[in-house]
Subunit: 182 residues, 2 copies
Amino acid sequence: MARTTPQTHGEILVAAARRFGVTGYRGTSLQDIANEVGCSKAAVLYHFANKEAILTELMAPAIEVLRSLDERIAAQPDPTSAQRVAAEGFVALAVRFRGEIALLRGEFPELLQQPGFAHIQQISERLLDALAARSERASARIAAFVLLAGIAETCGEFADVSDDELGEALLTLLRRALEPAG
Amino acid sequence: MARTTPQTHGEILVAAARRFGVTGYRGTSLQDIANEVGCSKAAVLYHFANKEAILTELMAPAIEVLRSLDERIAAQPDPTSAQRVAAEGFVALAVRFRGEIALLRGEFPELLQQPGFAHIQQISERLLDALAARSERASARIAAFVLLAGIAETCGEFADVSDDELGEALLTLLRRALEPAG
DNA sequence: TCAGAGCCTGACCGATCGGTCAGATCAGTG
DNA sequence: CACTGATCTGACCGATCGGTCAGGCTCTGA
């Protein structure tokens, strides 16, 4: 079973992504991943410090883009432009990383409380604030929350829809559904 | 520790609801529930056949309302009225049972695949179809999915908002965001 | 030829899970 | 009194979890 080329690290990532997407992070054991790769569980833990490290590395690119979106939003001079940037940026991110987001399968709440993902929570709150056009009105914040959570939950489904079409549909929805500033 | 009155059944339900709401269904062990009640784990399993039975009994009222909503939608003569009934009914259900829905904490996908909840999956699909005004267009179905999943995820948050205000906000959002029939 | 680095394995660990079981306790009944 | 059925307990079960560890294999460079 010894592998001739040391590409196992990448194989583990691919296998983990596939399994997480099917049975969720919690519902996937290290043994499941090892079986999918065709190696031992110990081999998985040779390449990654622990289970969370797999998820972290898997999500790293998406998180980096989210972080930069957060900065771009913060740099906007007024609520209206911040809302626009947030909407367009979030849709682009959701579509581009829909595979990665899908494999979290509604485990956001718990995963966000893990030590490595604490700052994501804060970014999400700022994103919500921007989508609500910085409004304090409950209706605006509720709408923003529904759309934020809904899009995150949605983009993993509809795998048969192209990136362009999905992005267009989500953006149209956001523009129609978000309450304008003021 | 023997209890004088046999009200433990109800106490277990209350304790389970509280724990599920905090740590989720999977994240809550029978021992956690027993600790909260102040009885043994075996006592919990004396009153309920297994862990899933607790969740089933907890969700029974909400599921019954969902089932009757499903029938009312099916009885509508055209897509437009079906969409209206689905939107109003779902919002009313989500607000009324927001506590129960909240304790599922994004575990819908996995829980729906448990044997006792198989039919909920089908009802959800018909609800989606109605919200999309029976349209086959991807944009309509995507919007419906975002709103359905988003509302389910949302109604547990905003505990400080009254039922009326929450329902009003969600309904307004749905009316603005859903694509009309045709 | 051999030391060492990188890669990987099987065996094992403690913890926790859902669930079972034999038996103790107690209230009610005849 | 004896008996019964409902309630509950502590001890236990097999399975599974994430993670550790000592050692073996293969390749490389001195």
